[in-house]
């Protein structure tokens, strides 16, 4: 079996909350030695965010933290102290990558800006993930999940016209920032290994949304090309039909018919549709209402999500059930592909975790160990730097670790 692809990589992880840890998770899960630096007082704030195991708010029981920090080692270090900064610089000497997602003022304020760290380790790749980037007038502004999506992303055209614009699900915008940071970091890391060049990577969450293909980039260009804004409307508001999300017997399904695939819908429904509803009639509102009311909804309401999707896929129609997290975990596809990973954590015990992003025998993914307890690896990390056990006692007494 191949070695894990990043087993020769060491990452100093100064990230917290979601976007930064989502980035370093990919490195850790593919074998990198990721040393997570946490504040001595409470550690990564994600430890205090839910969902909690058995709803017990406890720093080692946060599902968010447990998920994002698999395979990382945790050390505590107070970066606001001179000694803490000195120890961090010692750690920087021997790493390939440093990732941080503080506000852009923080690292320079601690004397830990890229220019300083580059002198200690010229091949260092330092990735800074921030709300708006390391430069510009919004540099120090605060943000949140909907603010990033609202400013950078396609929120203006997400939702329905008579309501406010609406964000995406949960924290996916921040997770996506982490995905982008992982890709940016590994590209820079590749250059460091092949060309010997270290550098500072600047990831602005607002820009990751402005450059998102989820629709945003295309709608930006539609404006540039035609000076037209994209209205906010629900999927069924599109005039082609049937296209979008529809209710059925036991929930909802998403089906793509429309002018592209009405011939396929015809085969699935075993009814002649093209003559009355095809061609230019796809853009006729009366025909649309007639089709939906007399043919489409009655057909859907007699069938379950699974029956509809099976029949549609059999007829080469793009379609899907609207699943919940419960449906996902039970789904035969993800089970059969071995997507889920089980791992045993010292505090919460055995749990099922979402697994690898892809399958590849040459790129083994595994949970070598679950998310670290706060400061779990202080002794092994700091003694490897040459500190004695007595030194560690002093550092602890000084509030450094």
């Amino acid at each position: 079996m191949a070695k894990q692809p990043l087993s020769d990589v060491r990452v100093l992880d100064l990230t917290w909350h979601i976007a930064g840890p989502a980035c370093t998770k990919f490195f850790a899960d593919y074998g990198a030695d990721v040393i997570k630096i946490e504040r001595p007082d409470g550690g990564d704030p994600a430890r205090s965010l839910g969902p909690f195991y058995k709803d017990d708010p406890h720093p080692e029981k946060s599902g968010l933290f447990l998920f994002l920090n698999t395979n990382k080692r945790s050390v505590t270090l107070n970066l606001k102290t001179h000694t803490g900064q000195k120890i961090l610089k010692e750690l920087v000497k021997d790493v390939d990558i440093l990732v941080e997602n503080f506000s852009p003022r923080v690292m320079p304020g601690l004397g830990l800006d890229y220019e300083t760290l580059e002198k200690i380790n010229p091949k260092l790749v330092m990735t800074s993930v921030s709300n708006f980037g390391q430069t510009g007038p919004y540099r120090d502004f605060k943000a949140s999940e909907p603010i990033i999506y609202g400013m950078g992303g396609a929120m203006c055209s997400t939702g329905v016209g008579d309501c406010e614009p609406v964000k995406k699900g949960m924290n996916v915008i921040q997770h996506q920032g982490g995905y982008m940071a992982a890709t940016a970091t590994i590209i820079a890391f590749y250059a460091a290994r092949v060309q010997g060049i270290g550098q500072h990577v600047d990831v602005s969450l607002m820009e990751t949304q402005m450059a998102a293909i989820d629709r945003r980039m295309s709608e930006l260009l539609a404006y540039e090309y035609n000076k037209e804004l994209t209205p906010r409307m629900d999927i069924a508001g599109l005039l082609q039909y049937p296209y979008g999300i529809f209710p059925c017997k036991d929930g909802y399904v998403d089906v793509a018919g429309g002018f592209m695939f009405l011939d396929r819908i015809e085969r699935v429904l075993k009814m002649a549709l093209m003559e009355n509803y095809g061609g230019a009639n796809q853009f006729d509102e009366t025909r649309r209402e007639e089709f939906l009311g007399t043919i489409w909804y009655p057909w859907l309401m007699e069938r379950t999500r699974t029956e509809i999707v099976d029949a549609c896929q059999e007829g080469r129609v793009l379609s899907a059930p609207i699943n919940t997290t419960e449906d996902l975990v039970a789904d035969p596809q993800f089970r059969e592909r071995g997507f889920w990973a089980e791992a045993d954590h010292p505090v919460v015990g055995k749990l099922t975790y979402p697994g690898r992003p892809a399958i590849c025998s040459e790129l083994p993914w595994k949970i070598r160990h679950t998310a670290p307890l706060l400061g779990q690896h202080n002794e092994e990390v700091y003694t490897s730097l040459g500190y004695s056990k007595q030194d560690l006692v002093k550092l602890r007494e000084g509030g450094i670790i």
Binding site: A2, D8, K54, D55, F132, T135, F141, K142, S144, P146, I147, G150, M151, C156, G159, V166, K167, K168, G169, M170, V172, Q176, M180, A181, I187, Y190, A191, R193, Q195, I197, G198, H200, V201, E207, T208, I213, D214, R215, S218, E219, L220, L221, E224, Y225, D234, I235, F246, D254, M260, A280, F283, Q313, S319, I322, N323, T325, E326, P354, P357, I359
Partner: protein
């Protein structure tokens, strides 16, 4: 100028729609040579616009939209719509395009020669497509054992849904995201289609390819990467899934509300369809918010005195906040609140985005000229690197634009052979007439 990080890496892409092309885009932006293998006999739905020659009335019918074409001068009987599609042109920069009729035996031979001089092969079709073309990993790895092949279909190369057809919106539904986004008090139909899956899996697909290159540098071995877009994106719902595996609780939609006890929403501002998002978490932020408003009397209400009370009385609070914002311009709200340390930001329409001071200061948008669309501003690079200062090198690529380069320079075809391949329908810049949508081979 410093070299770009991925210079010297050659990638062959037979990709459709968005997810695969986004992998190509990131690799191309950072220096890899991307050769798109396209065809003048087939155009997958949505790849270079919704249809090969989308009728003018349908193009004009839609206002804005992600599937728009450049309307000025649009006439499907005279222009080349496939080079004027927003869906394609947003990611088409820095890439090369050649055309091959991959259904013909000689087409396969041409692809073989291309694979033999390349490092990476990317495709994102439903698996039957590559199986029909005879371009599966066992075939292409026999041609070039060092090749890294990334397949990224909706559901992967195994399992009961292997052959399921889907776009990003359907994958979003399958993986549980559609259920989780939208309004808390409306059903799931009250929302827009989004293609988050293309974005997420396209981004991490590029990560996988570069990691594979690193691994290959150590082991000398090529590899096959089987990515299911649904799985790769599902990780972004990790904490929701953990709530189910830990507590058997199904996560529900929460609209724009904060998940962690803050006050958060999207509020109407002065003007037509203008909105601002505001998030207030700590007591300090609440005080900052009150200061920005000039401490009106209602802010002293007991119901808003501490964070838990504010969380419980959020609907009441929303009314007050909305009343205040509705008198102000969205950008003004941002500046007023940010000055007091409160997170706020306008919902930016595309015209705001192009004029946004932050985007301008960072030079985000790039102006390039493409032969058939003229000069326009395009959304730029997704991230920056200090020692690889980087801009678009090539405009959005036109179908078959680099046939000469690929056939003659890269593969060594003579002028005579090139002319013959042109006659035989491999090489060209115009789609053949009357392409049937969705059909890549005669049935």
């Amino acid at each position: 100028m410093a070299k770009l990080p991925l210079e010297g890496i050659r990638v062959v892409g037979m990709t459709q729609m968005w997810a695969g092309p986004i992998v190509e885009m990131h690799l191309a932006d950072w220096g890899a040579e991307i050769i798109k293998v396209e065809s003048i006999h087939y155009l997958a739905v949505g790849t270079r616009g919704p249809a090969p020659r989308h009728p003018k009335f349908a193009v004009d019918f839609v206002t804005g939209g992600y599937a728009a074409y450049l309307k000025e001068g649009y006439d499907e009987t005279k222009c080349r719509p496939w080079n004027m599609s927003c869906m394609f042109n947003v990611h088409g920069r820095n890439k090369y395009s050649c055309t091959v009729d991959s259904v013909k035996p000689e087409g396969k031979e041409i692809i073989k020669r291309l694979i033999q001089v390349s490092d990476v092969f990317i495709e994102n079709s439903q698996p039957a497509v590559m199986e029909d073309f005879g371009l599966t990993y066992d075939v292409i790895s026999a041609w070039n054992p060092n090749i890294i092949m990334l397949s990224m279909s909706g559901f992967g190369q195994t399992g009961p849904y292997k052959y399921y057809r889907s776009l990003g919106a359907h994958q979003d539904a399958f993986l549980g995201h559609t259920y989780l986004r939208g309004y808390a008090d409306r059903d799931v139909t009250a929302n827009s289609a989004i293609y988050h899956c293309d974005e997420a899996s396209g981004t991490i697909g590029a990560f996988m390819v570069v990691m594979a290159l690193h691994q290959r540098n150590k082991t000398g071995k090529g590899m096959f990467i089987d990515m299911a877009q649904t799985e790769a994106t599902m990780l972004q719902l990790g904490e929701g899934i953990m709530d189910y595996t830990m507590n058997s609780r199904i996560t529900e939609r929460t609209g724009n509300r904060d998940l962690y006890g803050g006050v958060q929403g999207c509020y109407r501002c002065q003007g037509d369809d203008r909105w601002v998002c505001i998030s207030i978490h700590t007591d300090e932020e609440w005080q900052g918010f009150c200061r920005a408003l000039g401490n009106p009397k209602w802010t002293k209400d007991d119901r808003f005195a501490d964070s838990l009370s504010r969380w419980h009385n959020q609907e009441e609070l929303d009314k007050h906040i909305g009343e205040w914002t509705s008198q102000l311009e969205a950008f003004k709200v941002m500046y007023m609140l940010q000055k007091e340390g409160v997170a706020a930001g306008p919902v930016e329409h595309p015209d705001d985005a192009y004029n946004d001071p932050q985007m301008k200061a960072r030079g985000f948008f790039e102006t390039v000229t493409q032969a058939e669309c003229g000069t326009h501003r395009y959304p730029g690079l997704a991230f920056r690197m200090s020692k690889a200062p980087n801009h678009f090198r090539l405009p959005p690529v036109r179908l078959g634009e680099h046939n000469e380069y690929v056939y003659k320079k890269l593969l060594g075809f003579s002028d005579e052979e090139y002319a013959r391949l042109e006659r035989e329908g491999h090489i060209g810049m115009d789609l053949v007439p009357n392409i049937e949508i969705g059909k890549y081979k005669p049935e």
